[in-house]
């Protein structure tokens, strides 16, 4: 039977919703147990959040000052030790999971399955390659630990609230390296919904034209309660910071509503939104590739259309 260890992602003492998405993928294996591992300096609030997630059996915590910031070189040896006795180790396929989990896999001497889209069996998974232009079925060796990152856009977050899993402190005796140090995090803090978990996202592209013009996108997003995203072209042009980038090299998202405004729809961008519920494209070029995948398209000038949309709401 399978026993799965899910590595919790958190920031500023709060559990990230990507963790509950990884728990959903773990539950799809129908394992004997799903334990969530919290590594932090101050674990209690994060552990309490994790304990409420449905189908979590136990929350294990490792509270150490060295775990205050997610440094892969520091976290990986602890996770590799904690993985003993588990058949699977999962983490969300966010920059956190992508950074730390391959390091864990190498310490365990096993391969890693990246970006699991679906679970076909305890050792069989589907994942995208070539920027999502092909989907492969991979079979992991049943005799070794399965280490996998979970593509968050493919999994809904497991429900939270009804569960109250026990929280246990884990005592792991492992020497931690001092060769890697956290300096600072420059975050583009905002009151808007988080891009990765928002149910609505409004994205702007090169067609928006300038940093100043991007205000029209922010204003419209706020009006409908949406998160704001951007294409790589808009980020490279300096209109918005790079943490708003949606696409193969940015964030891969699956909101219920995705509105692409002034975005032509390069393959790189489409990869990031393929799983969105409804895609709306607004572009003045009727031939733009974005219209090939949009559920609803509107050809026209965004500077004319957005005010009209706001009027019609």
């Amino acid at each position: 039977m399978s026993k799965i260890l899910v590595i919790a992602e958190h920031l500023d003492g709060k559990l990230n919703s990507s963790t509950a998405r990884a728990v959903s993928a773990a539950a799809a294996i129908k394992p004997e147990a799903i334990d969530v591992l919290v590594l932090a300096d101050n674990v209690s609030a994060i552990a309490a959040d994790a304990a409420m997630i449905e189908s979590v059996s136990r929350v294990l915590t490792i509270a150490r000052a060295e775990n205050a910031h997610p440094l892969a070189a520091v976290l990986a040896p602890q996770i590799a030790k904690a993985a003993a006795g588990y058949s699977h180790v999962f983490a969300p396929s966010t920059t956190f999971g992508k950074d730390v989990l391959p390091r864990v896999a190498a310490l365990l001497g096993v391969a890693q399955v990246s970006d699991v889209m679906s679970v076909e069996g305890a050792h069989t998974f589907k994942r995208p390659i070539y920027a999502g232009n092909a989907i492969i079925t991979v079979e992991a060796d049943a005799n070794s630990t399965v280490v996998a990152t979970i593509r968050t856009a493919s999994w809904a977050a497991a429900a939270s609230g009804a569960n109250s899993a026990p929280v246990e402190a884990l005592n792991i005796d492992v020497a931690l390296p001092s060769h890697s140090r956290f300096v600072e995090l420059q975050s583009g803090k905002s009151d808007r919904p988080d891009l990765q978990s928002a149910s609505k996202v409004v994205s702007g592209g090169r067609g928006v034209g300038s940093k100043e013009n991007f205000e029209i996108i922010f204003k419209f997003a706020d009006k409908i309660g949406a998160a704001v995203g951007a294409s790589r072209a808009a980020v490279d042009a300096g209109y918005v910071p790079s943490d708003l980038q949606v696409g193969q090299t940015g964030k891969i998202i699956a909101p219920e509503l995705y509105m692409a405004i002034g975005i032509s729809g390069a393959i790189q961008h489409l990869t990031g939104i393929k799983d969105a519920g409804t895609i709306v494209a607004i572009n003045k070029d009727g031939e733009a590739p974005i219209f090939e995948i949009a559920d609803i398209g509107l050809v026209g000038d965004l500077f004319k259309i957005i005010p009209e949309l706001e009027q019609a709401l």
């Binding site: 892969a72 890697s180 219209f291």
Partner: protein, 248 residues
Amino acid sequence: MKIIVGYKRVVDYNVRIQVKPDGTGVVTDGVKLSANPFDDIALEEALRLREKGVAEEVVVVGIGPADLTAHLRNGLAMGANRAIHVVTTDAVQPLTAARIFQKLIEKEQPGLVILGKQAIDDDANQTGQMLAALWDRPQATFASKVEITDGKATVTREVDAGLEVIEAELPAVITTDLRLNEPRFIKLPDIMKAKSKPIDTIEFGSLGVEANDHLKTTHYAAPAKRSKGVMVKDAAELVAALKQKGLL
């Protein structure tokens, strides 16, 4: 210091790949191959560090069949001092690639290894992290800015929450994000010069690396197609359609 750069050859990023109808793979015959874009960025960064006097030598490493030599010549033309070609006809998974790099590191003793953050064919995003683990050295993944001073690298990393700055003592592994730099173009005289630069050829079998085949790909499929959408004529119609779907 010496810098080792991973230089993978992949299907060109402009090619829209096709899945074989029998599900055994993707069509690669006659398809244009190029350097993995993230590896070009890695090589560019190494060359800039050499130009700043931080490094003396830049070595590009490729793993693949005999004809990979032509690809490595491109890396030499871009400016690498020499190349190492690990020859194998088998597809190499990230853990095996990391083990190969580990062997080369034992021999070459570099101060820095720069790899792309992921290859655009398998999209694994693993090799750099795995190498750092096997080597027991720091990793700085998704780098968008690198500064080397006093035996340490200060690296700005593109993370979901914004930009994270970390310090890593050298030697270390850095993996590159898109925004790190703009790779230079190769000039014709450099192509001529590259012909006389050395390429060491090493048979994979002679390295004593255990090939890792924990993962078997059993099927390839094209992604599910989205159904054809509708066009609306104005903003009012769009809002009405979204309201009808309960999205506004």
